[in-house]
């Protein structure tokens, strides 16, 4: 039970959750799934330089043990890109919902929404 196990299981859980949510019918859940997936990817990229604790990310003459700085740069780039993409897809999903009246990814207008087990806001909105 080391921190490597912690890292690997965290990535695994995030990917599993991300794939599950990304396969759902509604855009909000899909966006959440993509976000989880991107977290997992960032952690994975970070770990691709091996997990090294308490070492400087610089290679110098005095430094014998160091942590690889390149994956940190890669993860930073990936974070910036996925953050921008997530913001964009949120706005796009919202515009699509407002213009077409449906938040289903495949474009079908399903009222009620019995099939994925989540209660529709509209169905419960009138409750006193």
């Amino acid at each position: 039970m080391t921190y490597e196990f912690l890292m690997a299981s965290a990535i695994g859980v995030l990917v599993a959750g991300g794939i599950f949510l990304a396969l759902r019918a509604r855009t909000f859940q899909v966006v959440l799934g993509l976000t989880l997936l991107s977290y997992a990817v960032n952690l994975f990229l970070f770990a691709s330089g091996r997990l090294v604790l308490n070492r400087p990310p610089i290679w110098g003459k005095a430094v014998t043990e160091y942590t690889d700085p390149l994956p940190q740069a890669l993860a930073l780039t990936a974070i910036v890109i996925t953050f921008g993409m997530t913001a964009f897809v949120v706005i796009l999903a919202l515009r699509s919902f407002l213009e077409s009246g449906s938040d289903h990814v495949d474009g079908d207008t399903v009222t009620g929404d019995a099939q994925d087990g989540f209660a529709d806001d509209a169905a419960h909105g009138e409750r006193p």
Binding site: L34, S38, V41, S48, L70, G84, V89, L92
Partner: protein, 506 residues
């Protein structure tokens, strides 16, 4: 370092400069913005042709960004294949841009021209880069711009297709990053030439991971190239896009094909152990299925733009059948067909637009409508575009398919490839003939006569595309010689290793 040494960065730098300037001036001085965009495309074409002239003798230019030495910094690599793709992208961009300006399709939103330039920056960068992570970044640049361009003109149909397109590509980007992480963890480098060397020296216990990484990377490229079963995102996206944008997108699937051609021989070549030629067993069947799906779609399509989108899939499939051979002759034929099929697809999208503009409410649906302006001219040009898309003489598709068929005979599975290519060509011909005769020969007795198009100016851009195809047919000797030389260069990774890393590593 003289100014001429900075030539390889120009195709990326020009649109990177033009886009923000166009963005700044767009609101106040529309005409100036258009001119910036046009001049930028012309400059890109000029620099691409200069680059092509520089590398056509077989030299490989390696441009180290920030002058960081090769495996550590990012390097741009300009060889015959990259120069060819740059010229193709710039030519296609000029045609698409001309069409959008002439038909005023660019006026439906403020940001058409800046996005167009960013899209070109991403495309050119992806063609030039010699670094895998940089390839990812340029993929993202071209994707982000393409999201905006695809939504240009707005409307519920575009937004709906846009959500799917963005979601699919975000998942693709995640897979790309996972593959990159694995490859970096295994080899400790992201430079393609360096990675090719290090992959060959991997320990036996790492071979499994290497194979997973290679297959993931190839799947991502297959997704971009819309290879079956990863093609489902393409039809709706391309069919609902503004036609000028769809014409530019004709090169987007080719970016996926290009990346396959670039990365597989370089990194996963003969010496790669468990990952040697990793897509080889799957690519040919997938490409054949893609071809069948594409041309079956051409056969059943209900509108011209949908038909053009399916033609893109079909032509990518045909192209990949040839690529899957991984030999100089097949790859050379594939590269010739790549140039042809990109321009032919653009011509189809532009002709679909020309028809839709003249038919009023009937748009480009494959149903007989009332008589419309320039019917015979438009019909003739549509026929030429269809000839190009299916690969009949005299346009260059015929020569392309002929070269593919001829080169395939050296392979063990050539019977299947011949059967698929010839049958799908026939299906495609029938599909285009059906739609063409419905549109241009039948006439519905309908009350509403659509307003005739004010000018014939919207026929200029497709006419240029068709003329280019005729030129490609006339200059087939030179073009196929260049394509074969490019293929030979790509399939010999030692050449680019020497250019990028120098003699030290040999």
């Amino acid at each position: 370092m003289t100014l001429a040494d900075h030539l390889p960065i120009l195709p990326v730098a020009i649109p990177a400069l033009a886009a923000p300037f166009a963005l700044l001036v767009m609101r106040r001085r529309w005409a100036l913005g258009i001119n910036i965009s046009l001049v930028s495309c012309l400059a890109m074409l000029a620099s691409a042709i200069t680059l092509m002239a520089r590398v056509s003798d077989g030299t490989i230019l390696a441009y180290e960004l920030g002058d960081w030495p090769a495996p550590f910094g990012i390097v741009l690599v300009a060889d015959r294949l990259a120069a060819m793709m740059l010229v193709l992208a710039a030519t296609l961009a000029l045609i698409a841009l001309l069409h959008s300006v002439v038909t005023r399709a660019d006026r439906k939103g403020w940001h058409f021209h800046p996005l167009f330039q960013f899209q070109l920056m991403g495309l050119n960068g992806a063609f030039l880069t010699g670094d895998l992570f940089n390839l990812f970044v340029f993929f993202e640049v071209l994707l982000i711009a393409s999201y905006g361009l695809m939504l240009h003109g707005q409307g519920p149909a575009r937004l709906k297709a846009g959500v799917q397109y963005v979601v699919v590509n975000l998942v693709g980007s995640s897979l790309f990053l996972i593959a990159l992480g694995l490859l970096y963890a295994l080899t400790g480098t992201l430079n393609m030439a360096d990675m090719g060397l290090r992959v060959a020296a991997l320990a036996p216990e790492d071979q499994g991971l290497l194979r997973i990484a290679a297959l993931l990377l190839v799947s991502v490229f297959a997704l971009k190239a819309a290879v079956a079963p990863l093609h489902l995102w393409l039809m709706r996206t391309y069919a609902v896009s503004t036609p000028a944008v769809a014409a530019l997108f004709a090169i987007m699937t080719k970016v996926g094909v290009y990346s396959l051609i670039r990365v597989v021989p370089q990194v996963f070549g003969d010496g790669a152990g468990a990952a040697a030629w990793v897509p080889a067993p799957y690519l040919l069947p997938a490409a054949m299925v893609t071809t069948v799906i594409g041309f079956a779609g051409v056969f059943v399509a209900r509108s011209l733009s949908e038909q053009a989108a399916y033609a893109v899939i079909g032509s990518t499939g045909t192209l990949l059948i040839a690529v899957a051979g991984w030999q100089t002759a097949t790859l050379g034929a594939a590269l010739y067909y790549l140039v042809h099929s990109t321009i032919a697809a653009a011509a189809l999208f532009l002709m679909a637009d020309a028809v839709a503009r003249r038919r009023g409410g009937f748009a480009d649906s494959a149903s007989p409508g009332p008589d419309f302006a320039d019917r015979s001219t438009v019909g003739l040009m549509f026929m030429l575009a269809a000839i190009a898309a299916t690969g009949l003489p005299p346009l260059s598709g015929f020569i392309g398919k002929l070269m593919i068929l001829k080169s395939m005979t050296a392979l063990p599975d050539w019977g299947w490839a011949w059967g698929v290519i010839l049958t799908t060509t026939l299906i495609g011909v029938i599909g285009f003939a059906r739609v063409g005769s419905t549109l241009f020969w039948k006439q519905a007795q309908s009350g509403d006569v659509p307003a005739p198009a004010a000018t014939r100016a919207d026929l200029v851009a497709p006419a240029i595309a068709l003329a280019l195809l005729a030129a490609l047919s006339a200059g087939a000797g030179w073009a196929s010689a260049y394509a074969n030389a490019a293929a030979a260069q790509v399939l010999d990774p030692a050449l680019s290793v020497r250019a990028v890393l120098g003699e030290v590593e040999q």
